[in-house]
Symmetry: C2
Subunit: 342 residues, 2 copies
Amino acid sequence: MIKPRSRRGGGRPTISDVARKAGVGAITVSRALREPERVSEELRRQIQAAVDELGYVPDPNARALASARAEVFGVLVPSLTNNVFAEVVRGIYDSLSASPFRIQLGNTHYSGLEEERLLQLFGSQRPAALIVAGIDQTPASRKLLESAGCPVVQVMETGPDPVDMMVGFSHLDGGRTATEHLIEAGYRRIGFIGARMDPRSQRRLAGYRAAMEAAGLFDPRLVTTTPVPSSVSLGREMFRDALAKVPTLDGVFCNNDDIALGVLFECHRASIAVPKTIGIVGFNDLDMMQVAFPSITSIRTPRYEIGRRAVAMALAAIAGNRPEQRIVDLGFELKRRESTAR
Amino acid sequence: MIKPRSRRGGGRPTISDVARKAGVGAITVSRALREPERVSEELRRQIQAAVDELGYVPDPNARALASARAEVFGVLVPSLTNNVFAEVVRGIYDSLSASPFRIQLGNTHYSGLEEERLLQLFGSQRPAALIVAGIDQTPASRKLLESAGCPVVQVMETGPDPVDMMVGFSHLDGGRTATEHLIEAGYRRIGFIGARMDPRSQRRLAGYRAAMEAAGLFDPRLVTTTPVPSSVSLGREMFRDALAKVPTLDGVFCNNDDIALGVLFECHRASIAVPKTIGIVGFNDLDMMQVAFPSITSIRTPRYEIGRRAVAMALAAIAGNRPEQRIVDLGFELKRRESTAR
DNA sequence: TGCAAATTTGGTAGCGCTACCATCTCTGTT
DNA sequence: AACAGAGATGGTAGCGCTACCAAATTTGCA
């Protein structure tokens, strides 16, 4: 006689407990939970009653092991505190909360090596989908993504060569649009101030440069960058540096809104008139940009929407109808405000 | 003759593959990976070589199923985009990245019901530890936490009755300290402006009230609150409301820094002198507070440190040496700045 | 030297679930 | 009436790993 070993798992009800109580086979319970339409109305009710009574919750680990597929979306972002990625993650989270999928979050700290390590780790779970920020994966990371055996969505940017799918916008165009706006507004000695200088910042800088060169205004001394992580206080400092380098500066395109805010505050402090003496443009259009005094022109980016769309595409692919449009450009929008209204 | 079914899992190497290659039993490989000191030097080397050659990564799902314990920390926060919680999560993440534990993130959206749902869900994974924001769980949530069978750390606040462990600080004291500072600086008609009004905001308000009453300055018309989520633009609007209600207002203690920034910008816009006409105090002390012009007095809160400490305590408990101090108050610090330097 | 105790290794039997196939109804069709 | 086909249900055999116990080997010590 086989005596069931005292439960390792601390006595939580299992699928067989439910099956016994409902008077059906375990597999039928499994089906009732995952594909209700394949189980008769009546059994479904009985099973649901048993589930409720026992407080049964399926064990996701057992599920993942048996089906060789975890109900997990792996999400890789370079930062958890940067509002931009927080918004993307929020979009992903909100779109997934009604589904059975969980999120496995990874923070690459802007490091390609760390990204590889996390991808390796995530792969061991056989995730249902992978969402990664950026399009500049290392060759090793790219290989891992290609062999992940699940839908992959690269987010934040668009580019010519997706691993699988892409949702984002062109940072180069964003940088160019911002700069062209300053030029049109009559600014001439327009600086670029950029922190962190990750690939997206690099492309914004490239857009700035393209616009400046097209207008015959480019001067390398106008560009101030640092690998240091971005912050409002850094924005203030960098602006002072830029001004010291080029006293005739009359405008700045900032890498992001934090930097722009730092610039604005320094202008207040130094009694530099905005937009009269200096024009300011930010990037991302955080809420505070429209409240600032003067309000700050910025490039609005669809961060939350990127998260939502990435999930929608991944879910479609999982369901078997992979979207025909594999690269989705959600664009951006120039928000003209007081800081450039000369 | 039993023919092994074609691998469901897509041919990734398993522990038996490693064992075969290393010429040992599967269980020895398992041990070499989890408790290396229990395996002889020599076998360990052989096994490591086989692991490297095959690129073996253990399947966390199988592991969790077999050991009835997932290497997962469940983390519940009310918001992903609020910088405060993002910092806590970053602290948790950083402290855990060197360990084998993963993070399962849950966003309660400030809802007790959602918290219960997530706790139920998380419980089904038998996490190694749970970290939850706040101390105001519903009775059902509390029961779930108590029966989770793993260390539980409540973070952000301190209180008298922990489920298990606590790391945070007193929001009531924070609110009182901020308000007392304004009173000492000579402000009299000091308003409270608060958005969202979650339990922590409520306690800051209680601290404000205590300080005002102690000074004989309390007037309910000085209090302006809303359940709407906090933002810089909301801060601006609420300040206008507050001023319309009480034109003699000469100071504000803001629920958080976003609100404070909105107040500051509105002061600029309306040409209200800060700190002369109005004194401003924020809460949390985000980086931008010290850069703002004028710089804004705020209560610095140890958000990142809370995350680190919560993990440290949970890891200690998992390792068997539960910290004797179960409630850790990390305190806060009043940062005096220009916005209250009358 | 002999024997108990400690150390190292391995076999077996699941963990809770689902893929796969088999069985058993019911239709509907000829 | 006979039978194919569809739909509903169940049994069996793992998924990849570890808990538990047993066996083999080494060590310690009287």
